[in-house]
């Protein structure tokens, strides 16, 4: 297993070094916030998730030991779990089940492309969204993404393919994609 680039920094954070804390926040906060923003499609909720993720980091930094996962994969897993908690709460409020198939209804009126992509991502199944975000936006390797999602590389590829197909279908319906 290759060396974890964050291991020494996490050790320093665990020892209570304030400079290491600032470095870790500067290094990881943009990634965590971007992940939560794209998973939830809600900036305020994403900030709450980022705060909660760091509270967990402070709690566990002194005892964190690298097992099978890198620190970056671990914080992605923590962030995704917190996002799922919120998605579950939303689901309890709105409906009993999240559709795995694409909703045929047109998206709310929002002609700007980035907004349509955001809404299309929110419309696909969360597992597919997760896979696309990790590989595409978080720039994780297939192996890192599969480890973070605790699935095989084959299963990851299946999620990615289905997710991209679902996105293409939504965007084609909205006239953004051929």
């Amino acid at each position: 297993m290759s060396a974890d680039p964050d291991e020494e920094l996490v050790r320093q954070v665990g020892a209570g070094d304030p400079a290491a804390v600032r470095t870790l926040v500067a290094r990881k906060l943009p990634r965590i916030l971007a992940l939560a923003s794209r998973m939830l499609g809600d900036a305020a909720e994403a900030e709450d998730v980022a705060q909660e993720t760091f509270v967990r980091i402070w709690r566990h930094a002194s005892g964190w030991r690298r097992g099978n996962a890198r620190f970056d994969s671990w914080i992605h897993r923590v962030t995704l779990n917190l996002c799922y908690d919120r998605l579950r709460r939303r689901r309890e409020w709105v409906t009993d089940e999240v559709p795995d198939v694409v909703d045929p209804a047109p998206l709310p009126d929002a002609r700007e492309e980035p907004h349509l992509i955001e809404q299309a991502l929110q419309a696909i199944a969360p597992r597919q969204r997760e896979a696309i975000i990790l590989v595409y936006y978080q720039e994780m390797s297939n192996i890192e993404a599969a480890a973070t999602l605790e699935i095989s590389v084959d299963a990851l590829e299946s999620l990615l393919s289905r997710g991209r197909r679902a996105l293409q279908a939504i965007l084609a319906r909205d006239g953004v994609h051929e």
């Binding site: 209570g16 943009p30 955001e118 390797s141 192996i143 299946s158 953004v176 051929e178």
Partner: protein, 150 residues
């Protein structure tokens, strides 16, 4: 970026299309083991068409940017770090103090035990009467001994 994969069969249009469908049109996102063969196949007409199609969705995904974290969020997270680190330091000192006190107490008990075992019992060679003692205090045992001897 993808940095590994299982052992792959030789690249053909089917495999190339499957990879593009999963990882998109940018070969830097593909599993490392497939990149070289993928680059070679991409030079073909079929390969270029597949990548072109996948690239359209990539371009749309690229347009979705999210806000960078603001100063308020940075500040809030650093404050929570301060609180947790101070708490942890306090806890550490508390446990350290408790540990030292425990070690001290254990040392004292062990010392007392050692002294009581090693030091011979001091027998006074004379009896000093204090204000409350009487001169008859030592008479009892002698009397009993006398009775037994009889």
């Amino acid at each position: 970026m993808s940095d590994g994969s299982r052992k792959e069969p030789a690249m053909d249009a089917k495999r190339f299309a499957a990879l593009a469908a999963a990882y998109g049109g940018d070969l830097r996102r593909w599993p490392q083991a497939d990149r070289m063969a993928g680059t070679n196949f991409a030079a073909s007409e079929t390969g270029a068409a597949i990548l072109g199609h996948a690239g359209k969705l990539d371009a749309l995904l690229d347009s979705y940017d999210v806000k960078a974290p603001g100063a308020a969020l940075y500040g809030g997270i650093l404050r929570t770090a301060d609180r947790h680190l101070v708490q942890r330091r306090r806890k550490r000192f508390w446990w350290l103090g408790l540990g030292l006190a425990g070690i001290g107490l254990a040392g004292a008990v062990a010392g007392l035990a050692l002294v009581s075992v090693v030091t011979p019992e001091i027998q006074p060679d004379h009896y000093v009467l204090d204000a409350n003692a009487t001169a008859f205090g030592d008479a009892g045992p002698d009397g009993e001994t006398v009775e037994e001897d009889l």
